[in-house]
């Protein structure tokens, strides 16, 4: 496991260090390209290097901020962070806080370089089968390069998907192009063609990828892509292609394909929901051994997440970087009734706003007066963690998901934080959404589940045990329930930001102001809760897609997205 991470580091830092954008024809390397594909060691390290871009996912996506802070999930306490440009509507083609164009095209170029350079791997690898040990070594290396080639194709497809869900139509780069003239002539391919490419690649590599890396070769390769990772990518890509942003005519066949792809994972019977929602995000590099995790980024010991997000009042350090919003807190239903807090008869008490809620609320968000590191959190004005403190949460809430509460920052303790890219709960919700749109809430159409039962399964996770959805919901009602379920279950996991875009509701959700909770402690030690506006947010119709970086549009045939 560590060996794998170190390999990635080595390669990413020295062998194939990044170029500035995909138009570049050379990549700065320690070795020349012709020196890389000469033996197993260098060739395999070039393959592992394709993984390096995965470290961009997750915790520090935008200038130390999570992507959640660019959606209605959270505010970022640092007003100088570039992520604020998303919220103020001041991002442009030359100032995009999450400009991923060069990052992912560099990674795609790495993948293409590896795939082309290793095409003749059987000839390159040292072959001396006269000695048994060498023969075994050769077989091992052949198998490993074959797997790496499939994994590189998976990663190349994943990086294309990351680009397509941001920029819409993008150039599909299947090979290394060095010729300047050809590069200048490259145009953007349709979003649908990109999805077709991703799906076709996944279909081809699923048989070539390993089922698991656990209990293989001393467990040192854990974290590499598996069949399930490719299946999940395919299912999610098809879901995006079926969604309103990309499917304006609501072609039901698209939903049907997305449902089938998600069901392929469900029907395999290999995955299930972890029985500890809070613990699921603190599994470290063992997360790939969990039955819920389909693909996760292996990382290293670190404590920056805790340094950024521990409540401000703890003497071990911390600040309220990712400040969860009241908008998100309000989305958590009441556990006893399964109703949203603003429904009559829900059982919600505004003066005890965190009692009786969906347990995922306090597993994901630190709320006032909840226990954290041995004392109640004081989010009230004047409290140790109050919003009036410098660098404190701006909303009255602190991030809990992913946070390792046990770390002692004064002693600089650290732990591994694994970023889960695909997990089974998301697969179930992808399936539910696609089934509902294709066939309605309770139709099975030959599948083992229907939309309702898939959502119910997520809600009934051990330790969460939310009431199942009421039967007889209309398709529209089920759509709203599924969307809220995604918002709650997948909070802070880089889904909401893209979900509201693909559902084409961002003009509604992202133009609402971000709300926080102003808490006052009364003399009798009870609290007064008042919701207050923290900031207005701006989202305009052209922002459904990112702007193509200005530098790219000036080079040749890459056109700009409308409105930018």
């Amino acid at each position: 496991m560590k060996i794998f991470i170190y390999s990635i580091f080595f390669v990413s830092l020295s062998l194939l260090a990044g170029c500035s954008d995909f138009m570049d024809t050379a990549i700065e390397t320690k070795y020349q390209e012709e020196d890389v594909f000469v033996n197993y060691s260098r060739m395999s390290e070039a393959g592992y290097g394709v993984y390096a871009t995965l470290f961009h996912f997750g915790f520090n996506r935008v200038n130390s901020a999570m992507l959640a802070s660019a959606s209605d999930e959270a505010d970022h306490a640092d007003v100088n962070s570039s992520v604020q440009h998303f919220n103020t509507g001041t991002w442009t083609s030359s100032l995009n806080p999450d400009d991923s164009w060069s990052t992912f095209y560099t990674a795609i170029r790495r993948a293409n370089l590896f795939l082309e350079g290793s095409a003749d791997y059987k000839k390159i690898l040292f072959r001396d089968t006269t000695i048994a040990a060498n023969a075994e070594n050769y077989r091992y290396q052949v198998r490993d390069i074959e797997w790496l080639r499939a994994e590189s194709r998976f990663l190349r497809a994943l990086y294309h998907f990351e680009l397509a869900k941001r920029y819409g139509d993008i150039p599909i780069m299947k090979q290394v192009i060095n010729d300047e003239e050809t590069l200048r002539g490259i145009t953007r391919d349709d979003f649908d063609d990109c999805i077709d490419f991703i799906v076709m690649e996944c279909n081809e590599i699923i048989p070539l990828l390993r089922e698991t890396w656990i209990d293989f070769d001393g467990n040192k390769w854990r974290g590499r892509a598996t069949k399930a990772a490719a299946q999940a990518l395919k299912a999610e890509a098809l879901l995006y292609a079926a969604s309103p942003l990309h499917n304006p005519s609501n072609d039901l066949q698209r939903w049907s394909r997305a449902a089938q792809a998600a069901h392929d994972i469900i029907a395999s019977g290999k995955f299930s929901l972890h029985n500890n929602y809070r613990g699921l995000f603190n599994l470290g590099n063992g997360s790939d051994g969990n039955p819920e995790v389909l693909f996760a980024v292996q990382r290293w010991n670190e404590n920056s997440l805790e340094r950024y997000n521990f409540p401000i009042g703890y003497d071990q350090g911390g600040q309220g970087a990712t400040s969860p919003s009241q908008n998100l807190v309000d989305a958590y239903e009441m556990r006893s009734t399964g109703k949203s807090i603003n429904q009559p008869g829900s059982g919600y008490d505004p003066q005890k706003p965190y009692e009786g809620r969906d347990p995922r609320l306090t597993m994901s968000i630190i709320v006032n007066n909840s226990m954290f590191k041995g004392r109640p959190v004081e989010s009230w004005i004047g409290g140790l963690d109050g919003t009036d403190k410098l660098r404190a949460s701006t909303t009255g809430y602190y991030l809990k998901k992913y946070i390792n509460e046990n770390l002692n920052l004064a002693q600089n303790q650290s732990s591994v934080h694994s970023w889960i890219i695909f997990r089974y709960a998301e697969v179930l919700l992808n399936f539910a959404e696609a089934m509902n749109e294709a066939y309605g809430p309770e139709e099975k159409r030959g599948m083992s589940m229907n939309a309702k039962s898939a959502v119910d399964a997520v809600r009934q996770r051990a330790g969460v045990n939310m009431p199942i959805l009421p039967p007889g919901l209309t398709q529209i009602e089920m759509r709203e329930r599924i969307r809220n379920e995604r918002r709650v279950e997948l909070a802070f996991e880089e889904h909401r930001f893209f979900d509201v875009r693909r559902w084409k509701i961002a003009e509604l959700t992202e133009n609402l102001p971000l709300m926080g909770m102003q808490i006052t402690k009364r003399e009798d030690d009870t609290f007064d809760y008042l919701v207050v506006k923290k900031e207005d947010r701006v989202f305009k119709a052209h922002m459904y897609f990112y702007p193509i970086p200005e530098a790219e549009t000036l080079k040749g045939s890459i056109t700009q997205n409308p409105g930018w």
């Binding site: 469900i266 029907a267 395999s268 019977g269 290999k270 009241q326 309000d330 807090i341 603003n342 009559p344 008869g345 919600y348 505004p350 706003p353 309770e442 099975k444 083992s448 589940m449 039962s453 119910d456 199942i468 009421p470 039967p471 007889g472 509604l508 133009n511 609402l512 102001p513 709300m515 909770m517 102003q518 809760y529 008042l530 919701v531 207050v532 506006k533 207005d536």
Partner: protein, 531 residues
């Protein structure tokens, strides 16, 4: 230093003389335009009848002429722009808004401009008066009826035998004002696609029943074939508020499936188990847990002897039901219960619960290793020959001196007290050993006797045994021994000896003669009382 000072003086003098020669800088008098005036204002959050409204009342004036007004409350999605004229504007407007779930601070933001380019920007705090309805005596029925379901408490049914499954529905429905109707429905289909639906509508006529009604119904849902059903109870009050509750009902959807190869009931009651302290472990006897690999789909790798006395049955369990109590000392199943299936006579894959018409074999005609897959929805069993391979054979610390072509002649059973490494015990060859079966590769079997509680280990023959290698025992601490369903159990695997203490393997109690067989491919240890 002196030169520097001189240079400084010269430069300063030059600068002063230069500035004296230039024109004067003239600052204009403050000509900022006058701004409009908000003379009186109020913004109120009101509850009026069934609706919530924002009411704004303000007088805006300007010395010369007003030009425009922008009004916004972003959290309520209110945004209005108006063109104005004249010196005074009376802003009096209401907006339909949503009810706040929490007490919320609202402000109305006004931006007013005049013809002189003056801009007034002001936030008017909203006074929350929503606690009291503005219509005196207005008492809306906002609450839906409350449905408390007393039955069904169990919503998952075995339904393995071909008979309807009785279902009892019992619910108390209460309403604070007046209930108008109650609707009950149960619906769904089995895996053959047979649709089933029962519905029932009731409208109360008696006054008491309009506030509280005890709904009870007995019905039957289809059994014999796996199916998934739902039920719902919906109550509606006079104001139109609805409450809906319900749940899923499954028939024949199993949580656990075991393969039993007990020859008879005596091998059920006399099956072996690890009896260490109170943490009894299962799985050393005649019941093998099948791994759940999908929805109602189970799988197991199994060696089939294809002998005349084969007695293969599949035993299903749901929910908290288990084949044993806390340990196999308390057996909770029999070979002819309603949860037992076997291969239908003459069929190549069909399973039946009619044991009178079953043949208790696998659908194959040769001995060997098979991957057995049981689909409890389709009620089928399939046996596919598996590749007979054990990667551990090449591990010399686990299997010293072993190869498929040169197998051990026997496995020694070592019992007694602490057994550490190769010391502390002596092998009594051909006394207590499992001998390789001539007809079945990789299977070792034999008899032994226990007197009281004894600890038992296997080793490879002493001739092959090396320090810390060639020992077979439970692979981990007993507290961690879980079967595919999380129950205490373990396969007996080669793990090498412990250097740290007793090399306990399994423990059997009682003064008993046992017959055991051990499979080096699947690591299955089968122990039963000798008959």
């Amino acid at each position: 230093m002196v030169m520097q000072r001189i240079l400084f003086i010269l430069v300063t003098a030059f600068a002063l003389s230069w500035s004296a020669c230039t024109d004067k800088i003239v600052f204009l008098a403050d000509e900022a335009p006058e701004i409009p005036v908000l003379e009186r204002y109020s913004a109120k959050y009101l509850w009026i009848g069934p609706e919530y409204k924002l009411a704004i009342d303000a007088v805006i004036t300007d010395k010369d002429a007003l030009k425009s007004l922008q009004l916004s409350v972003s959290e309520w999605n209110i945004e209005e722009s108006l063109s104005l004229s004249g010196k005074e504007y009376l802003l009096r407007d209401t907006f339909l808004v949503t009810k706040d779930a929490n007490r919320t601070k609202h402000e109305v933001e006004l931006v007013v401009s005049n013809e002189a380019q003056g801009i007034l920007r002001v936030k008017i705090p909203v006074t929350d008066l929503s606690a009291t309805n503005q219509i005196e005596g207005y008492s809306p029925d906002l609450l839906p009826p409350v449905i408390t379901v007393n039955a069904p408490k169990v919503n998952r049914f075995y339904g393995l035998i071909d008979a309807p499954v009785p279902l009892t529905v019992d619910a108390l429905i209460t309403e604070d004002v007046e209930m108008t109707d109650i609707y009950f429905k149960v619906w769904g289909e089995n895996i053959k696609g047979d649709y089933f639906e029962v519905e029932d509508t009731w409208s109360p006529s008696i006054e008491e029943e309009k506030q509280a009604y005890h709904y009870a119904k007995e019905l039957e849902i289809p059994g014999g074939t796996a199916g998934e059903y739902q039920y719902m109870i919906r109550a509606t009050d006079k104001a139109g508020n609805q409450a809906v509750t319900g749940g899923n009902l499954t028939v024949g959807m199993m949580d656990r499936l075991y393969l039993s190869d007990a020859k008879n009931e005596s091998e059920v009651t006399g099956q072996g188990f690890d009896a260490y302290a109170s943490a009894d472990a299962w799985g050393l006897g005649t019941l093998l847990p099948m791994q759940r690999i999908g929805n109602n789909l189970f799988q197991l790798n199994y060696y089939y002897r294809d002998e005349s006395d084969e007695n293969i049955r599949f035993i299903a369990f749901m929910g908290s039901d288990r084949p044993f109590n806390s340990s196999p000392r308390g057996i909770k199943y029999s070979l002819d219960g309603d949860n037992v299936l076997a291969l239908a006579s003459g069929s190549s894959e069909e399973l039946t619960t009619n044991l009178q018409a079953a043949e208790f074999k696998l659908p194959v005609s040769q001995k060997g290793y098979y991957t057995i897959t049981v689909d409890m929805s389709a009620r089928t069993v399939k046996a596919v020959p598996m590749v007979v391979v054990n990667p551990d054979f090449t591990n010399s610390s686990l299997f010293p001196g072993f190869s498929a072509a040169n197998p051990y002649p026997y496995l020694a059973i070592i019992s007694g007290g602490n057994v550490v490494g190769t010391s502390g015990w002596s092998e009594i060859e051909n006394n207590t050993s499992l001998h390789k079966e001539a007809e079945h590769d990789f299977i070792y079997s034999g008899d032994f006797r226990t007197t009281g509680g004894v600890n038992i280990n296997f080793t490879v023959p002493k001739a092959s045994l090396l320090p810390n290698s060639g020992w077979f025992r439970l692979p981990a601490g007993r507290a961690n021994m879980k079967d595919t369903y999380g129950d205490l159990i373990s396969a007996i695997k080669p793990v090498g000896a412990s250097n740290q203490g007793a090399n306990y393997g399994i423990t059997l109690t009682g003064n008993t003669d046992w017959h055991a067989s051990y499979d080096l491919i699947t690591y299955r240890l089968r122990i039963v009382k000798k008959q």
